[in-house]
Each structure stands twice: as structure tokens, then as C-alpha cells.
């Protein structure tokens, strides 16, 4: 080791830096920075992309102090269960302090990627005005901003390449934000505003597309009509990725005919989405581009019936990623299995969220896809029922799963045939899929499934549990067994203090733990917080009387704990207590 080190020290720092340039993954860079002090130093000055998985684990000052040359920042805010309304609206996750600090310190920020954060118009305005080289803004599942903030970005970011808004709750003020892109803006490569609800200025949009010759990805919102789409496609046949707006027109019309011709010329489209409103008789217009599609997202198109979906999918032989609604049915999944031999990722979302009585999919569809698509490695599957036999078959057919998320619409439904818990089925999955990194379980489950997970899921990093298990043993199996666990989220399961306190050191090896409607008590959380000063143990009290000192035996409704270098956060609202 000594010889090695002294040999390495002969290399000037520039050489080390050049070597590190080849390391793009932040995990690799993190590892490299732990080797020795000089490597730490070289690495930190050369790192341009920083990933912060929990915005409260560090603070902006530490980021800037360690990585002064950061150009690209990824931040994640609220816990994952916030997506399902389990976290109150103003829990936290504000991006403003980060933007403010970077602006003050002259950071040359070019890219900002945020997930589940609160983004105010103020922060967007500050962002737009503070970083002259700003190129890329990606917001996923964020809220707190309006189209006024987008107008600020459009007006001020002269070299903007990417504006990608995915599934955000945006206050659409029906302003002319699209018109705010100056005529000199020609740099756009990617524009996604599908989540906006209001009218878009189609004239401004058409002009923007016409002058941005490098545009590769364009996703429209539902307010953009079909004839505008046609005009856009004529201007931008070089698109790789298209999200349509409304796909409704008279199929006998001239406009539709022109659209068909325009689409035929778009030979580079590999990814297709949208169809937020659709006249299924217009769908054949996209058949010509289906042959080359690698990614298809029809999960927001409830208007496409199973038979139409099947007709479309028959053309998509090169599909690698498919997101659809369960209206496709088991029969449709059969067709997917026989057509899409390159399929890697499948997501089947529930269509019947409001009880209109639509069909769902069952275990049969999943088995069919597993048999027909050997490259399948990522799954999100909402289904009406499941069986152990099916899961065992799936495990045999597809040992390559990296992400496996199964969600039965009834969260505690047993095996549909045997009435047994689904322990054996999930056990087969974790045993077979040695590379499994993410798992969500559902259905009737006992402690046994967690025994299997602890025993076999060696690479597991994220586990989601709901309405499962019998006792603390379940949670203990997981905490003791899964050495690489980073995120554990549990709701409505009978895990309590014994499990929580068995190995307090474990939580510093993890990013976070969420437990809601479980059996942990206030006293146990206090004990944990006392023992582990580098954890923030947050209790969320909603709608309850906030007593000065609640009884230690009182059950805690929602607990979120995470490792942190910076102690309790100062922006916690009244109903969040950091113990």
C-alpha cells in the first residue's frame, strides 16, 4: 500500500483529474474520494455533477464548500410516500435556499434536477437571473410554482437547452410564458410541458419549434390541438421523442391527412407519449413510426380501448419500455408478450381510480409477459389479483429484475387460487433475482416474506411495505439481512419499538426510514433520537393536539428519520417535531 501510494503521488494532480474525468457515476466518485486525502482533494475540485438524495442530509453551504466547481445539481426533497398524500403539503423540501446560496457564491450552475421539492416562482426567477450559463431544468413531481416562474426561465436563460416538466402540480395562470422565449433563443433541445393544464400560445409554440433546429424532444399538453401538432411536425421532423397533446380530429378531414403525411416523415421518433384526449380512429396515423419505437407511454390515455391498444402494439416490435393502463387486459399483455421481444421495462397503471368499472389485469398477464420478454428487468404492476404460482413462474422466467413493484388493488388480498399469503411468491422473486435493487410488496403477507427478503435480497436498496407482516420479527429480518438497504418505507404494518431499536447504527448506513400507522411509540423515537445524534427523527403530527410532552407510550402516527450532517432542519413547520 505504501509503495502504491508513493507511486500514485508522482502523478501530478492534472493526471489524476483526467483519470477521474472518466468516472461519471457519483458512487464511483464518492468511493474514489475516500482513498486518501490527495484523491479527496483532486476529486472534489473536479466534480461537476453532484447528486444529493435527501436535501436535508447536507446544506447548501457544505455543498459549495466541498464542490466549488459544481455545475449540475440533483436534489430530492420529500419522502417517497408524499406522492400518495401521506405527507402534509407544507412539510418542507424548499429549493430556494440552495439557489440563493449558489447565486451568492458565484457557482456556475448549468443544470438543476429536482424531485419532490417545493419550487416557488421566486426561486425560478432567482435561478433564471443568477446563472448566465444555465442550460437545463428538470422538475419531477414538484409543486409551488406557476407559469409566471416558467416565463422567467424562458425570458432570461439565453442558452436554455432543456425544460422538462414531469408530473408537476403547476398553477397555470394562462399567461403567455411560451411567448417569453426571445426570438434569439434557438438552443432548445428538449421541451416538455405536458403537465400544464392551460392553453398554450400555439403561434408562439410553432415559431419556437421552427427556430430551434436542434429540438429532439417535445412533449405537448392537452391544450395543443391536432392541427398544431401537424404544423410542428412539419417543422421538426428530426424529433426523437414526441408527446402529443389532444389527438382528436375528424379522420376524414384534410388536417388529419396532412398529419399522417407529416408523421411519416418523422423517421427519428423513438419515443412516443401523450394522447391525453384521443379519437381512436385517428390512431392509425402513428402506425408508421411504431416500428422504430423503443419507448411508448400510453398511461394517460384512458380513451384507447383494449382492442385499439392491441392494434397499436402489434406494430411496436422494438419496444424496450412500455407504460400503459390496465385497460389493456390480460389479452393485451399476451400480445405484448408475443410482439415486444426487446421489452425491458413494463408499467401497468390502474385505470379505475374512480370506480367506473373498468377491467384490470391479473397474474395471467404478468406470467405471459415474463414468458415472452426475456429481457424484462423493471416492473410496476397494478393488478386485481395475484398467485404464488404465478410469481414463482415469473421469477423463473425473468431472473434479471432490478426493480420489481407489485401492487394488488386490494392491499391484503391472498393468493387468488389457494387463499394463502403471497410469501412464497415474493420469496421466489428475491431468491431468483440476485440483482434486485428495488422491491415493493403487497397482498396478504406474513413475517415469512421478510425472512426471505432478508435472506436473499442482497443487493436490495429500496423496499416498500404496506399492510404486511405479523410482528417485529418481520422488520428485523429485513434490517439484519439487507446489507445494502438505503431506503425503507413502511405503512400500516405491526412493526414496533423492538424492531426500531434493535440496531440503531443501521440507520446511519441508510438514507431514510419512513414508518406510518405502525406500532412505534413516542418514547422509542425519543430514545432513538438520543442515541443517534446524526439522525433527524421527525414526527409528523397532523390534526392532533400538540401537547407539550405527549405520553411516551403514545403511538406515533408518522415518523420519518434520515441521516444528516447538519442537525435538525430550521424550516420544519409546526406540525413536524425533530426529536
Amino acid at each position: 500500500m505504501c509503495l502504491f501510494q508513493s507511486v500514485m503521488n508522482y502523478f501530478p494532480e492534472e493526471v489524476l483529474e483526467h483519470v477521474f474525468d472518466f468516472l461519471t457515476s457519483h458512487r464511483d466518485r464518492n468511493a474514489v474520494s475516500l482513498v486518501c486525502k490527495s484523491w479527496y482533494s483532486v476529486e472534489r475540485f473536479s466534480r461537476e455533477k453532484v447528486f444529493i438524495g435527501n436535501c436535508y442530509a447536507v446544506d447548501p453551504e457544505r455543498l459549495i464548500a466541498r464542490f466549488p466547481r459544481v455545475r449540475s445539481l440533483t436534489l430530492k426533497g420529500k419522502p417517497h410516500f408524499a406522492d400518495f398524500n401521506l405527507v402534509p403539503h407544507d412539510w418542507g423540501g424548499y429549493v430556494y435556499p440552495w439557489i440563493e446560496a449558489m447565486a451568492k457564491n458565484g457557482i456556475n450552475l448549468e443544470e438543476l434536477r429536482l424531485k419532490r421539492m417545493v419550487v416557488s416562482d421566486e426561486s425560478l426567477e432567482l435561478l433564471a437571473k443568477s446563472f448566465p450559463n444555465f442550460k437545463s431544468l428538470v422538475l419531477v413531481s414538484c409543486d409551488g410554482f406557476s407559469t409566471d416562474g416558467l416565463a422567467a426561465i424562458a425570458s432570461n436563460c439565453r442558452f436554455l437547452r432543456e425544460l422538462d416538466l414531469q408530473e408537476n402540480e403547476v398553477d397555470d395562470r394562462k399567461g403567455q410564458w411560451l411567448s417569453c422565449f426571445p426570438d434569439t433563443c434557438t438552443s432548445l433541445v428538449s421541451l416538455n410541458f405536458a403537465c400544464l393544464k392551460g392553453e398554450a400560445s400555439v403561434a408562439a409554440l410553432e415559431r419556437l419549434v421552427a427556430r430551434c433546429r436542434n429540438l429532439r424532444s417535445l412533449r405537448l399538453n392537452h391544450a395543443v390541438p391536432l392541427d398544431t401538432l401537424q404544423k410542428i411536425l412539419v417543422q421538426a421532423p428530426q424529433l426523437n421523442d414526441l408527446g402529443t397533446g389532444t389527438f382528436v380530429h375528424d379522420p376524414d378531414s384534410d388536417a388529419y391527412c396532412k398529419l399522417k403525411n407529416a408523421i411519416k416523415k418523422c423517421k427519428s421518433i423513438r419515443s412516443l407519449s401523450g394522447f391525453l384526449d384521443v379519437n381512436t380512429r385517428c390512431l392509425p396515423a402513428v402506425y408508421p413510426i411504431c416500428t422504430n419505437l423503443t419507448s411508448l407511454n400510453l398511461s394517460y390515455a384512458p380513451g384507447i380501448y383494449s382492442s385499439e391498444l392491441i392494434k397499436l402494439i402489434c406494430h411496436c416490435k422494438k419496444l424496450e419500455r412500455l407504460w400503459i393502463l390496465d385497460t389493456i387486459g390480460d389479452k393485451g399483455l399476451d400480445v405484448v408478450a408475443s410482439t415486444c421481444k426487446e421489452l425491458q421495462e413494463l408499467r401497468v397503471f390502474p385505470s379505475d381510480l374512480y370506480g367506473v368499472g373498468n377491467a384490470a389485469v391479473t397474474e395471467e398477464g404478468l406470467v405471459a409477459v415474463s414468458a415472452g420478454c426475456p429481457k424484462l428487468n423493471s416492473l410496476l404492476y397494478f393488478c386485481q389479483q395475484m398467485t404464488n404460482a404465478a410469481l414463482i413462474t415469473v421469477a423463473k422466467n425473468c431472473p434479471n429484475f432490478i426493480r420489481f413493484r407489485l401492487c394488488t388493488l386490494d392491499p391484503t388480498i391472498p393468493d387468488a387460487v389457494t387463499n394463502q399469503p403471497l410469501d412464497e411468491g415474493f420469496g421466489a422473486i428475491v431468491q431468483s433475482c440476485k440483482g434486485l435493487k428495488r422491491l415493493s410488496v403487497s397482498g396478504l403477507l406474513t413475517d415469512q416474506v421478510f425472512l426471505y427478503i432478508g435472506m436473499y435480497a442482497e443487493q436490495l436498496e429500496m423496499l416498500s411495505i404496506a399492510f404486511a407482516g405479523d410482528s417485529d420479527k418481520g422488520m428485523l429480518y429485513v434490517l439484519n439481512g439487507c446489507k445494502k438497504l438505503k431506503k425503507l418505507e413502511i405503512r400500516d404494518s405491526p412493526f414496533g419499538n423492538v424492531a426500531l431499536l434493535a440496531d440503531v447504527g443501521k440507520y446511519e448506513t441508510m438514507r431514510s426510514l419512513w414508518m406510518s400507522s405502525c406500532e412505534v411509540t413516542f418514547g422509542a423515537c425519543k430514545t432513538l433520537a438520543e442515541k443517534m445524534p446524526r439522525l433527524n427523527v421527525e414526527i409528523i403530527n397532523e390534526g392532533e393536539q400538540i401537547e407539550a410532552s405527549p405520553d411516551d407510550r403514545h403511538r406515533v402516527e408518522k415518523m420519518y428519520l434520515y441521516r444528516t450532517l447538519v442537525g435538525p432542519r430550521r424550516d420544519a413547520p409546526d406540525f413536524v417535531w425533530t426529536l
Binding site: 400518495f84 391525453l276 384526449d277 397494478f382 405479523d470
Partner: protein, 197 residues
């Protein structure tokens, strides 16, 4: 209450957007394993504040199984839920046709548009504009159809009486009824004779 309605809606404004579980609540106790006493069964988490029962389209004389809501289940992003909320699919039956269709009422802005869409869907029909704007005719055999709908109370109503938006909100399904059967049709009074199970 007209025939065909289930239990009275507790909060009608909620029932149109209530998150229902697909299946009725089967308590874990009804299944194989006996759970330890401390386990919170699925049913205990039901948020009863928001009303435990909603109208069930399918039931006729027996009250529907109560469908309740669980916060955050199925785990779907609110963004997705809101996107799907904006579709109001209702079944459309035509007397004499072998199968039903579904239309999304949200995509139309007027009765005329809806009828035009129905015309397109059931291609043998044409809107008979001459006699009465709201009648539809099968031009091949001259049968006239009257568009009717079942509202939230379970009553069969004539399409067109109420403002469009009110219709969209209250319509659960539609039926193109043969004119010959529709003699004497009026809101509420003849619902018994016309309701379908």
C-alpha cells in the same frame, strides 16, 4: 329513490371522486391466517370521515357492498389521479344493439357534440334534425331513438333538459331508447318502468 340506486349517497360531491378499492373489503380474519392482536387490519385504516358508501351502478334491489377509502391506496401519484379524474366515461346502450360503447363526456362541450359523437359511434344512426333536435334516427329502418340517461339518483331522464355541465356531472350511463317505448317520458315519474338493472 328510483329503482337501481344503492344506498343513499352521503356526500354526493365526494362520491364522484371517491377512491374506491376494486374489491369489497375482505377482512384478514376471513382468510386463512389468524393475525396477532396488535396488527392493524386493512379495514381499520379506512378513512370513514369521507363517507363509506357510494352508489353502485350494478346493484339493483340489494344495497351494494360498502366501498370505503384508504388514504394513499392504490399508491398512485396525485398528479396521475387528477389527470384521470378529468375523464368521465359512461356506458352507452342502444336498444337492439348487441354491445355497449363508452364515451368520455368530458371531451364534449355541448349536447350537439355528444349526439354527433354518438352518431359516429353507432354508424347506422343519424341525428334527426328535422323533427326534434334531440332525436336520433336509424335511417335504415326508420326507427327513432330518444337519448336518455340515468342520473345519480338512479332515475332515467331525457337528455337535454338540464344545462350541459349539470348533465355531465350527474350522468352515470346512457341509453338510446326506441321512441315507441318513450311515450309519456318525463323526469322521475316514469322511472320505474324504464330503469334497467
Amino acid at each position: 329513490m328510483g329503482v337501481g340506486s344503492g344506498m343513499p349517497t352521503v356526500n354526493s360531491h365526494v362520491s364522484s371522486c371517491c377512491l374506491k378499492t376494486e374489491l369489497t373489503l375482505g377482512l384478514p380474519g376471513g382468510q386463512k391466517t389468524s393475525k396477532s392482536g396488535s396488527k392493524r387490519g386493512f379495514s381499520e385504516t379506512v378513512d370513514l370521515r369521507l363517507g363509506s358508501s357510494c352508489d353502485d351502478e350494478v346493484s339493483v334491489s340489494t344495497p351494494p357492498p360498502s366501498k370505503a377509502q384508504v388514504v394513499g391506496w392504490p399508491p398512485v401519484r396525485s398528479y396521475r389521479k387528477n389527470m384521470m379524474k378529468n375523464c368521465k366515461y359512461v356506458k352507452v346502450a342502444v336498444d337492439g344493439a348487441p354491445y355497449l360503447r363508452k364515451v368520455d363526456l368530458e371531451i364534449y362541450t355541448s349536447y350537439q357534440q355528444l349526439l354527433a359523437a354518438l352518431e359516429e359511434m353507432f354508424t347506422c344512426l343519424t341525428i334527426c334534425n328535422v323533427v326534434n333536435e334531440r332525436k336520433i334516427m336509424d335511417s335504415s329502418n326508420g326507427t327513432e331513438y330518444v337519448p336518455t340517461y340515468e342520473d345519480r339518483d338512479g332515475d332515467w331522464m331525457l337528455v337535454g333538459d338540464v344545462p350541459w355541465k349539470m348533465f355531465v356531472e350527474s350522468c352515470k350511463r346512457m341509453r338510446l331508447m326506441k321512441s315507441s317505448e318513450a311515450v309519456g317520458l318525463a323526469p322521475k315519474t316514469s322511472s320505474k318502468g324504464l330503469s334497467k338493472s
